[in-house]
Symmetry: C2
Subunit: 138 residues, 2 copies
């Protein structure tokens, strides 16, 4: 499963911190879409619940904290995100769920493709079938 945490090089000074991201220096794809999630008022809410056929993403918790479950039929990993200078790369064919958002959490996501509903698996069973039909070397 192609997911991993990595560090951004934050420029820190007395007037604050700045993280700059561009391809290919800081991330492995051109940024085609940006989205951010905020205002998740309860730790009981979970979001995500999908996988992508081809799209890759980098998730950054720019404020607060949250957890991300990444999962295939073969393995699962839970990442804790709580720092603006950490990125979580999630490759294609990986199911993801985000949870335990702190009230102040802001999750920034950079994506390698524009929105395309056909790129989503929204049912885990569909993802599982596709995962095995593509071979289990993902």
């Amino acid at each position: 499963m192609h997911s991993h945490l990595f560090n951004f090089d934050a420029k820190k000074s007395e007037i604050g911190s700045l993280v700059a991201i561009q391809s290919p220096e800081s991330i492995p794809f051109d940024i085609q879409r940006v989205y951010y999630i905020y205002g998740v008022d309860s730790k009981k809410y979970r979001r995500g619940f999908h996988a992508h056929r081809d799209l890759e993403q980098v998730l950054i918790c720019v404020k607060g904290s949250l957890k991300v479950l990444v999962k295939t039929p073969k393995e699962e990993i839970i990442y804790s995100l709580s720092s603006p200078d950490k990125g979580l790369f999630i490759g294609k064919m990986i199911w993801r769920e985000m949870f335990e958002f702190s009230k102040d959490a802001v999750l920034l996501v950079l994506a390698s493709k524009k929105y395309d509903e056909g790129d989503y698996y929204r049912e885990y069973s569909d993802f599982e079938n596709a995962f095995f039909s593509k071979g289990n070397n993902l």
Copy 2:
């Protein structure tokens, strides 16, 4: 001066809010660089102090609040940003300063070009000279 505030279409639900941004639907340029500023611990700090020859940007205050001064030799405007669903477009040849950051502020910036030091005016007097030499219809 080409700067203006605009609204993003936030998808709001009980599990939180999501703003998705891609060109050309939500912003007028392809995103070549993303950066974010955080941890500005005092309202006395100002940042920015530059203009760009060609680069365009959209500034989004995804958490907290801050102000942005945009300025040419002919006019100046102060924008207050305090909402993740508001974007501030800043065109080329505009001096900008960001200030009055709340302690929790996170400023997300989407840029139309990759980093190029040659695109910056870092001295106001240089910017002013260039502004007038390019004509005053900017």
